[in-house]
């Protein structure tokens, strides 16, 4: 790494290299790029980041990103009110929205249960989910949580909490990737796909 002669530049490089995926070399490149830009452009850049940071908050209801008290998805009156899709994080909401296949409510847990990493159930938005189910008259819960060991435990824990309710619980299907080839699918996935097979629907979408 070249020695940086300016304290200001050095500070900027240090700050940039704290970003995920950015090493010191990339940080220097970005810093020098910004230095070469007109002042108002950098000001605008700065402003948009500040605005995002100061004005975005958690939705009071589903913990998705929100500009106001509630997020745009919760405020959307055309969406189905009786179904909640439970996800780990905000990125999962984005991914599911991207598919255009879901038109209900969301609930962002903020992670999965993992005591090793200090994440017990009380650190996640599980109690809030249970409250919502009672107060909003929710009929179905779709668990869209990663099929990892900790993800599965989280699903089980939530289902245990809801044992006394008559809510319909489902989890997203897991199995062979669409367009994938069976011979290249790993054993565990293929094995579970066989066990959790679904009836064939002759008219396409199952």
């Amino acid at each position: 790494m070249n020695k940086i002669y300016s304290k200001y530049l050095e500070n900027a490089v240090n700050a940039l290299s704290e970003l995920p995926g950015i090493g010191r070399k990339s940080a220097l490149r970005i810093a020098l790029h910004l230095l070469a830009q007109p002042l108002d452009k950098v000001g605008h850049f700065n402003e948009s980041i500040m605005k995002m940071r100061s004005d975005l908050k958690e939705c009071k209801r589903c913990f998705n990103l929100a500009e106001e008290q509630y997020c745009s998805l919760c405020l959307d009156q055309t969406r189905l009110k009786s179904t909640i899709c439970v996800v780990e994080g905000i990125r999962d909401v984005m991914a599911i929205e991207e598919t255009g296949q879901y038109n209900g409510q969301y609930h962002v847990l903020g992670g999965v249960i993992s005591p090793i990493e200090g994440v017990g159930p009380e650190r996640l938005h599980i109690d809030q989910l249970v409250q919502r189910i009672h107060s909003e008259g929710i009929k179905e819960l779709i668990m869209a949580i990663s099929p990892t060991i900790d993800g599965e435990t989280t699903i089980y824990y939530i289902s245990k909490k809801l044992e006394m309710t008559d809510i319909k619980l489902s989890q997203i299907a897991r199995g062979v990737a669409f367009g994938g080839e069976l011979q290249y699918t790993d054993e565990v996935t293929l094995g579970r796909s066989i066990i959790a097979r679904i009836p064939y629907a002759i008219n396409g979408d199952s």
Binding site: P115, I116, G120, T153, K160, D186, E187
Partner: protein, 363 residues
């Protein structure tokens, strides 16, 4: 099945080394400190993605370097399979088969079955139950991927459950229930497979023990599962209070016991050094036999420091046994070639000499 070529880069004492092996007997000889055992451990790593001696991946890298690479050519079912195990500091360990990396390391285990025999193995008799459980797990993992996956899941869940018990005075019972429910199917599978393994293993152990010891001592092995026929959830509920009090999980396959007996008495306590050496060797040969039968091909035998543990006569009997039956490929390390040559007589062997300088350069 046999390993025909092996290339090591920055693996322990071998900065760059290559080896050619023949399908039968290979003897790696050289003075102490020339890296003979490291060659066998490299082969073990290639087969199981782990060091036999439990050395962490980082410590397998030659001092002063930042990666290791093990490449082997395996002839299996009359096809050549190219296997690579590589690890770079700070990255994920990769195992490749014919140039394609496995998504899960567990899918690879069993591609090149091995049985390793080292002087350290006395721990199987003298050590704790966990050492004997590992012996059984090593064998099962190579024949049954489902077993390995259950074992990995179970261990992860157990760790999580123990953290819950350790960190809260008044743990969330619903959370403990959740762990129990997830652990139950794995616990059941592990217990039933271990029982089946011991049942297959017991008669073979007896045969090999008598053959090596040449005396009619009555030996036995018992599997004492923690669950002992009970349902996991029930058993776990029963020990819940105790778990909370002791702050750890007291029930489940991680508490299984495997004990060896000499007549009615525990081998661990009453066996002599010589009897224990015989037992360990018989255990390994029985393991080899069980694996051969289940896989329909004989696993590679890696025999480390043969003469360190056995007297001349026992080595001779072992070699005779290997030559008579279809034991497959064998790699032996010893400090002196002549000892093995004497025993083998006119049998063809592939002798590979390691010297201090040679272990650091191309063969």
């Amino acid at each position: 099945m046999h390993l025909s070529e092996l290339y090591l880069t920055n693996f322990k004492s071998h900065q760059s080394a290559s080896f050619r092996f023949t399908p039968q007997i290979n003897v790696i000889h050289g003075l102490n400190g020339t890296g003979k055992t490291n060659v066998l451990d490299a082969i073990y790593c290639l087969a199981t993605a782990k060091s036999y001696f439990g050395v962490p991946d980082l410590k397998l890298i030659t001092h002063g370097s930042n990666f290791y690479r093990i490449e082997g050519r395996l002839n299996r079912d009359s096809q050549e399979v190219r296997l690579v195990n590589k690890y770079e500091r700070g990255k994920k360990k990769l195992v490749e088969k014919n140039g394609k990396a496995y998504d899960r390391l567990s899918d690879h285990i069993g591609t090149m079955p091995v049985v390793m025999i080292t002087p350290d193995d006395l721990i199987l008799v003298n050590g704790l139950s966990q050492d004997r459980r590992r012996f059984v797990d090593q064998a099962l993992a190579q024949t049954d991927h489902t077993y390995l996956n259950h074992l990995v899941d179970y261990k992860r869940l157990l760790k999580q459950r123990n953290v819950v018990l350790k960190t809260s005075v008044n743990p969330d019972h619903m959370l403990l229930d959740s762990y129990d429910a997830r652990m139950a199917p794995s616990a059941l599978y592990i217990t039933s497979k271990r029982k089946a393994f011991i049942d297959n293993f017991r008669p073979q152990l007896e045969v090999f023990y008598h053959w090596i010891a040449q005396v009619d001592e009555q030996i036995d092995v018992k599997y004492l599962p923690s669950l002992d026929g009970k349902d996991y959830i029930e058993a776990s509920q029963e020990s819940r209070k105790r778990d909370i009090f002791l702050k750890r999980t007291e029930t489940g396959p991680h508490k299984d016991k495997i004990e060896f007996y000499l007549g009615p008495r525990a081998f661990r306590m009453f066996g002599s050094q010589g009897q224990k050496k015989n037992l360990v060797l018989a255990m390994k040969l029985a393991q080899h036999h069980v694996l051969s039968t289940q896989l329909h091909l004989p696993p590679l035998i890696l025999l480390d420091d043969l003469f360190d543990r056995l007297d001349h006569q026992r080595v001779k009997r072992l070699i005779d046994l290997i030559l008579k039956s279809n034991f497959g490929q064998i790699l032996i390390t010893d400090t002196r070639l002549s000892r093995i040559e004497n025993i083998l007589g006119s049998q063809p062997i592939n002798a590979i000499e390691l010297t201090k300088s040679k272990s650091n350069e191309e063969e």
